[in-house]
Subunit: 145 residues, 4 copies
């Protein structure tokens, strides 16, 4: 299962080469991750601001297959590719309105106490969402292979 | 050999978790890449704007080892980890003022005609810079191993 | 009449002071402006990319009345405050989920040929949208007074 | 007297219209402001992170006179245009490498306790810097008139 977040490329995301800057895909991924975790107790901003639990990245792998331009609309699919006790791999597919998969991403996060900036056991509500969105092929292959 | 670019974390690069957003490292890398290529004929902006040659990313691998906060100053080292005919791997180390390496990155780019958005043979001046900054260990290991 | 665009504050829009960076309101305004102009022939990205007509800012006035934090949701109202032959004032109200108006903005744009970067007569479809969204009080007062 | 901060337009600051996005001037201004305040006790990031004193904007007025493109280099001059007990107007001139003043800005800030998010008396070291950079014409005219 995967959660899908749809959004248009924004005017200012285009760079001097006329395509979306390669770093913006991290912003797109984070948006989709916030949608994935929208159902945690109190919501995702509450998790960050009040419960002080967050998901700093420790790894990122992106494969870019086609450019994005202003006017394109993306479907961002996010699922859990690997589920550990204190970390997880989130896997993403970025699909353009013409059904071309323009990029795939693996985003490894560590569940962390944001005040101590140290890893913590995954809260039950966070784990439940990741389990519900665990990819069938989890752990057996790279997302873009 | 490597080129080193120094810059401070900016006020607005910090996110709601209080650390630099993981996507900002792509911006940092691009800045260092622009310094690396500053010596091309006419300069890097001229390469993009007038010669219409650019380096869209096809791959990105980042390993994050420690957070960055507002007030930190980075040294970004960039070198060429692999040099092909139409593509190259740029490798980066992000070193904080306390000498901690907070992240490493491999950034695979394809030399492209920005109007056709298609790969082209690498111009001689671009190649010369990459050759001059070729890592000793090029191609034999991941930058963060 | 005004067009309303709703969006949440994004994780990375918060700065090192813990509130939304003051420059982000320009991004918010531009998003609302794109919604306002969505109905032009071919859509707004087509206007920019193909018709090569755009709206560079020549003036900006913002009054900030309350901070925005991660977790807040905005309603951005945009209307036309003044309609000229080649320029217009767009006026915005930024309203938080608790109904507090956190900011108002006046954004003066000049309709421009993006290749020549010179002002042009306003296209009929652009004018029609601005007329349909002309504020009753247009021109008689600042939006935030 | 004014402090001058020089920086190049960055690759990703250009928008889909091919010029620097109008909101980026707020980022430019903030950079110059950080240079202005570099001499406070412990430095500006220490002021924000530890002393928890900051300068949220309550007003912003920008006049844009010419576009910026990738490859341009800016000199950003910042001075104090008005000095109050708890607030100040910072005034900026953005000058391109060809000596064209591309924009001017007035940025009204309120000295604030960032935890209480409430105005406070201006610390002596902050005031000293603003006094040392007070414009001769302070308060008598808009920066762009």
């Amino acid at each position: 299962m995967a959660v899908v977040h749809t959004r248009a490329v924004r005017f200012e995301e285009v760079d001097a080469a006329g395509i979306v800057f390669f770093g913006c895909y991290a912003n797109y991924a984070h948006e989709a991750m916030e949608v994935l975790f929208a159902g945690v107790e109190g919501g995702y901003p509450h998790l960050i601001n009040v419960r002080r639990v967050g998901f700093p990245a420790v790894g990122l792998e992106v494969s870019y297959q086609a450019p994005l331009r202003y006017g394109d609309v993306l479907q961002i699919e996010v699922a859990c590719g690997r589920l550990g006790n204190r970390s997880a791999d989130l896997v993403y597919r970025f699909v353009r309105q013409d059904q071309v998969c323009v990029a795939t991403m693996k985003h490894t996060v560590v569940v962390s106490d944001l005040d101590a900036m140290a890893s913590v056991q995954m809260p039950a509500d966070v784990r439940a969402i990741l389990e519900a969105n665990l990819q069938a092929s989890a752990g057996t292959s790279m997302p873009h292979q």
